[in-house]
């Protein structure tokens, strides 16, 4: 998985490319853990994200909980397969998916 971060003051955009699964979720968690200090607007761009498993959902949940305390989090451009995982798990209701 490739993670590309673009930071502009309080705004952070994170573009994910590939698969967010058991093998790659810890990497995202680590990267976000360091990058989220003083971020008020987090945008996750899923245009190139092909796959998400529950390991990926776990990171999204902890990130959403953190961002609820310090600002906003938005998920953009998720494909239908990823959206379906959000729907099956009810994550569609707790995440902001645009």
């Amino acid at each position: 998985m490739n993670i590309t971060k673009t930071r502009e003051e309080g705004k952070l955009k994170v573009k994910l490319e590939g698969r967010l699964d058991t093998s790659t979720a810890p990497e995202l968690e680590r990267e976000l853990g360091e990058a989220l200090d003083n971020v008020t607007d987090l945008t996750l761009d899923f245009a190139e994200l092909a796959y998400i498993s529950s390991a990926g959902l776990r990171v999204l949940l902890t990130t959403q909980k953190r961002m609820n305390k310090q600002g906003n989090m938005v998920i953009q451009n998720a494909n239908d397969d990823v959206k379906e995982v959000f729907e099956v798990t009810g994550f569609i209701d707790i995440l902001t998916v645009e």
Partner: protein
């Protein structure tokens, strides 16, 4: 019928996925079915890797069979770890708010929701968990 025996370790996940994907390579599968299959295989194998054995570790045997005519794929995960039926785990409450939401149990819940059949047996000192799914439309 094909079999793959691997060490029950997270690092073997890619090999397990490759083995299962190889079973359906001649079938016209929807992208959706493939992703649901990958999610299920990942959840079930990683569960074994994390919980079946203690520090000494052990193996997982994956047995897969593709019925060409019906396009139904069956995959059985077998381990000799402690008896554990993941299907008995209570479904997570997926209506809770983000603060109350727990992540536990979501993986197996997704497997239940996306596979056509799933069943568990404990026999000969081994856990057998089987999933079945029709892979073509």
């Amino acid at each position: 019928m094909s079999e793959l025996r691997v060490e029950a370790k997270e690092k073997e996940l890619d090999r397990v996925l490759e083995f299962v994907n190889n079973m359906v390579k001649d079938i016209q599968c929807s992208q959706r079915a493939m992703i649901q299959l990958d999610v299920a295989v990942e959840e079930l194998f990683v569960n074994i890797a994390h919980y079946a054995y203690g520090e000494n570790g052990g193996d997982a045997l994956i047995v897969a069979e593709m019925q060409k005519e019906s396009a139904i794929l069956s995959v059985t995960f077998i381990d000799s770890g402690m008896p554990y039926n993941p299907l008995q785990k209570e479904d997570p409450d997926i209506t809770l708010s983000v603060e109350e939401r727990q992540i536990g149990g979501l993986g197996i819940y997704m497997v239940k929701k996306t596979m056509d059949e799933i069943f568990y047996q404990y026999k000969n000192g081994q856990n057998h968990l089987t999933i079945k799914k029709k892979m073509s439309a």
